[in-house]
Subunit: 147 residues, 2 copies
């Protein structure tokens, strides 16, 4: 045994579910702008979000069947994920989403919370859209959670 | 408008669902080792995983009711998340999980894939456990996806 195991270094894989993988692929590649790096035709798509992060899309109808190598999983209903966008790109994202035909469901300007490293006049704000499986996809400018 | 909106900088919030929030809190704080930074008693818990990443746990029975500020969401069934652990801590994590009374459901040594920056003799491997809501929680040592 070597090394310490006090906490993980990060979240490596974030998972969402959707049955129509071609539509999910188009959404996350063309609307969100992620890089598709892997896929198993009827089961999954894998997007590299950053050097340390992946977004995986699974068809629950497949993952619930069981797999020789990995545990079963799979949810139904509307999940949720939030992506960080760079400061100063909020309006550019709204324009991009409009061009891509994505409907903005809501915009939120976050209240100031204790412990949040918020800069005066640079409050965190979010844009919400839906992916083809109706998962709630949020794009966040700024940090809204305590550290 | 300023800045470019070509892709997000990362995944900011990863979401899992579980009805028993005190049990979920104990698991993610004491077993996984995350830092609890926020909570709305009957609705949610927020863990700071890294300076750029949050894990949020929601009770779907609450989030599906609707909220004045944010869109509805909520899933049922067994979700999935994978945390990255530091190289060399795999055995220490197994010991930690055993001490915490967590049952290891499966261990996987990943096959070498094209494009994966794997080092000979340092193949990626995973430990799988279940959280109190039966979400499949994976701890990954190494990188197993193409870049």
């Amino acid at each position: 045994m070597n090394g310490s195991a006090s906490h993980p270094t990060g979240i490596y894989e974030t998972i969402l579910y959707g049955e129509d993988l071609p539509a999910m692929e188009r959404f996350y590649r063309d609307v969100v702008g992620l890089w598709l790096v892997s896929g198993v035709e009827e089961r999954s798509r894998g997007f590299r979000v950053s050097p340390t992060q992946m977004l995986l899309i699974f068809r629950a109808s497949e993952t619930l069947k069981g797999h020789p190598m990995v545990p079963t999983h799979g949810t139904t209903g509307e999940g949720h994920v939030a992506f960080a966008i760079e400061r100063g790109t909020y309006d550019a994202w709204k324009e991009r989403l409009a061009l891509a035909g994505a409907t903005i469901e809501k915009e939120v300007e976050w209240p100031v919370q204790a412990g949040v490293p918020e800069t005066v006049g640079e409050r965190a704000r979010s844009i919400y859209v839906r992916d083809p499986a109706r998962n709630s996809v949020e794009l966040v400018e700024g940090d809204l959670w305590p550290r």
